[in-house]
Amino acid sequence: MKFIQKIAHLFIPRESNNQKAKLLHNSSLTLITFVFILYQLLISFVPRFAPKILGFAANISPDEVVALTNNKRSEAGLLPLSLNSTLSQAAQAKGADMLNKGYWAHVAPDGTQPWAFFTNFGYKYKYAGENLARDFSSASSAVEAWMNSPSHKENLLSSKYKEIGIGVVEGNLVGVDTTIIVQFFGTKYADTFPIAPIAEVKAANQPPSVEETKTLVSPFNMTRFVSLVIVGLLLFVLIIDGVLVTKRKTARISGRTFAHIAFLGMILAIVLILKAGKII
């Protein structure tokens, strides 16, 4: 009986909670916020003490990345890029460099530029471009992320590039297991008129195509799950609250339940819209 009373106290407006579900009191909302922040801190610190628990790794086929890229290009009326093994080796080396040095950027902490990898492998370029992606759960989501970003899309659909190289590396990046995709675009100096070489390196993402995903415990998914539970619970309680207060014609000092429902509804939509995967 006591348990039911406690539940009612938490979820239903009644005398014991001053005609407002305890879960909707300012103190409860503040407590939920603090607990959520603590949870986030915990997720952030777990990799330091227990590596190999958090992360997201996927088996991504470089060939599929190339195919997806060329699909997008053909849809735009462009010629397909041909896979260049030298570029792929360079892209692989860039990915390995990021894992070894623990960075996620176009330029390494020691100042190494992306195009250094092109020249290190003997690829003399006239045009060069780089797209990076990590943590994508599917090829389509990565491609969409890429196509939704003007700068990355520009790289992908540039008529200046003739060749492509893909590097896929899996490993531990600052305590979190991840899969990084490096996409190099290039046009050899020899393929063009002999004009002074121009390096155009832009942040790019790339489309990973995932054949099989092996999810550890993805920090993003954990955060999303908990967010959905909290928002769902609060919406549920707010709806009950709104219905009962209207029905009983309860007079009380409180914010507008309907406005809170609308705001949390927006948060719910955003939580559902946001997808895992980073592109630079």
Binding site: N26, L29, T30, I32, T33, F36, I37, Q40, A145, N148, S149, P150, H152, P219, F220, T223, R224, S227, I230, V231, T246, I253, S254, G255, R256, F258, A259, H260, A262, F263, L264, G265, M266, I267, A269, I270, V271, I273, L274, K275, A276, G277, K278, I279
Partner: protein, 86 residues
């Protein structure tokens, strides 16, 4: 429902703000910084909407202000946490 019908223009403004926020998230999915700015802007607008609405309705109290702040901050913390992990 009576209250909503009475203050329909207020709620239209609120829905407009929230829908604009969702739309911005969809359209600028590639720009995390912009998404964070949008999240803050919508949360602040929501609190301001609450203040103005209750002021006009003559039932603006400190606890009500705190309530809007608490809901806005909770939503903001969740969205920020997710954006930073995307």
């Amino acid at each position: 429902m009576k209250h909503i019908a009475k203050h329909l223009p207020h709620y239209f403004v609120l829905f407009g703000l929230l829908l604009a926020g969702i739309l911005a998230f969809v359209l600028f999915s590639y720009d995390r910084i912009f998404q964070m700015v949008v999240a803050v802007a919508v949360a602040v607008s929501y609190v301001i909407w609450g203040l103005v609405h209750h002021y006009i309705h003559r039932d603006l109290y400190f606890s009500v202000v705190l309530e809007y702040l608490a809901v806005a901050v909770l939503g903001l913390v969740m969205v920020f946490s997710l954006i930073l992990r995307t």
